[in-house]
């Protein structure tokens, strides 16, 4: 469902993503790991058609991100870093706007709202402006926005960053629940998260893929816990790890 070939993106002299290729299918929860500035967010921005790649191709459900951006956006749910949302809108107005923009008809809208309010647990903040919400609720509203049209591909950029342990647990449960009939890509730098929810993991560092495997296989092959593996893979180079972090 997601097919990425030799994807490349540079910001001036800084190469953020340097020819990465991978694929993900239905039922996959692909963990995207890497130190800060490794190119995770840039890759996700290209998958969601926000950034245009400099080279290579990426296809989502058969649509190319460069040639058919609108078709791609129709098929994905995207939660950007820090869950951006219009602060002055109430949760309800915001979700209604997303429904409208996504062309969910009035009749289906009530149904979709009801489903999403329940699964993302945002009922208590429905009439509150988003700017006044706590980090946890803000993130949930972001998830609700990404899920409201029931997309087949979900791209979540650090969905649990900054949440407390309870909220992290809830978000992970939600992702697990959703994973059966979707293809999900989750970026994170929290390793326990990978163990908790991911069926596959990719470790990316300085714009290149270092590992494309499963958590269990990796432990068998290299040995030790994931933390040690992660450190070994992302620091064993002669140059210091200061790849450009790009917002």
């Amino acid at each position: 469902m997601i097919e990425v070939k030799e994807l490349r993106k540079a910001f001036g002299p800084i190469v953020a993503v340097d020819g990465i290729s991978f694929r993900a299918d239905l039922g996959d929860v692909l963990g995207f790991l890497g130190p800060n500035g490794a190119g995770k967010s840039t890759t996700m921005k290209m998958l969601s058609c926000f950034l245009a790649p400099d080279g290579g191709t990426a296809g989502i459900v058969g649509h190319d991100v460069v040639a058919e951006p609108v078709a791609v956006r129709r098929n994905i749910g995207y939660l950007a870093e820090n869950a951006p949302a219009y602060d002055e809108m109430t949760t309800e107005a915001f979700l209604r706007f997303v429904c409208e923009a996504r062309g969910i008809t009035r009749r289906k809208r009530a149904e979709a709202m009801e489903r999403i309010v329940e699964s993302c647990a945002v009922a208590s903040v429905l009439h509150q402006p988003i700017g006044t919400l706590s980090k946890g609720y803000r993130r949930r509203v972001g998830l609700a926005q990404a899920l409201i049209h029931d997309p087949s591909v979900l791209i979540l950029d650090e969905p649990t960053d900054g949440l407390d342990p309870n909220q992290k647990y809830e978000v992970r449960q939600l992702i697990k629940k959703l994973s059966k009939d979707k293809c999900i890509v989750v970026s994170t730098h929290i390793l326990e998260e990978v163990d908790a929810i991911c069926t596959r993991m990719i470790i990316i560092d300085r714009g290149r893929i270092r590992v494309d495997s499963t958590p269990n296989k990796l432990r068998e092959e290299i040995g030790g816990n994931l933390d040690a593996i992660f450190r070994k893979l992302t620091t064993n180079s002669d140059e210091p790890s200061v790849a450009g972090g790009v917002k």
């Binding site: 969601s48 245009a52 956006r73 950007a80 219009y86 809108m89 923009a101 917002k247």
Partner: protein
């Protein structure tokens, strides 16, 4: 179309769910009223709105960029632009939706100056032609300023920079035809260039609306100019997005 309507509705609602629209309307109405009465409106003993429309180009030069500066700069600063473009909306739909929502607020501001019309009617028997065309000219002028402001708002995430550039851009078009500027340019630019600058002037075209003359080429000028700057905004959004 769907993308355009949803953006238009969201934008329009956001003006009124924040103090923005109310502050703008109050300041606009106070300032336009002040400009009229400061010019001895009653002592002139004329049932005309000439002095009212006379203040519009200068008033709009600050108020329209103030409204336009947030259009894209704010989306970029709060990163909601990434959310907006994860929805199936094209840059052209978004730019047009935002522009028209803002233009609607400006149209409302103009409509709320009706007590001025009522006053003139009460005091005398005005010639309706210049009043109607004056409003039309003001509306078109506001649209042109707004399109300029929208373009500069695309270029930066800093609203102050967007505002200053937009005021400068609007000021260029407004002052292009004025005698002092033309005299200065005549001494520095080649003759052909001076003519081009003169053609771009807002002032002379707005004055013909003020006099009650609607010429197709004046209307076309404003419409084309507005469309041009809007198109530039769409291109700028795409370019800036690709650059991160």
């Amino acid at each position: 179309m769907r993308g355009f309507i949803s953006v238009f509705k969201r934008e329009l609602r956001s003006y009124f769910s924040t103090p923005l629209a109310y502050v703008f309307l109050v300041v606009f109405l106070l300032a336009s009223g002040f400009m009229v009465f400061q010019k001895n409106f009653f002592e002139m003993r004329q049932a005309s709105m000439w002095v009212f429309f006379d203040g519009m180009p200068l008033l709009f030069i600050f108020l329209v960029p103030a409204l336009a500066m947030r259009l894209w700069a704010e989306e970029r600063r709060t990163n909601t632009i990434e959310l907006l473009f994860s929805l199936p909306i094209t840059p052209a739909q978004a730019a047009l939706g935002k522009f028209l929502a803002c233009w609607t607020v400006l149209a409302l501001a103009l409509a709320l100056t009706w007590p001025m019309v009522a006053t003139v009617c009460y005091l005398g028997d005005p010639d309706w032609g210049p009043i109607v065309t004056g409003y039309l000219g003001s509306f078109l002028l506001a649209g042109a300023y707004l399109a300029i402001g929208s373009f500069f708002s695309c270029l930066t995430r800093n609203q102050v920079i967007a505002f200053v550039l937009a005021v400068a851009g609007c000021a260029f078009f407004l002052s292009a035809g004025s005698p002092s500027v033309m005299n200065y340019l005549a001494g520095t630019l080649p003759a052909g260039m001076v003519e081009v600058v003169e053609v771009l002037s807002f002032k002379s075209r707005f004055e013909s609306f003020q006099r009650g003359v609607v010429e197709l080429r004046d209307v076309a000028f404003f419409v084309l100019l507005t469309a041009g700057w809007l198109w530039a905004s769409v291109v700028a959004i795409g370019e800036r997005r690709a650059a991160g």
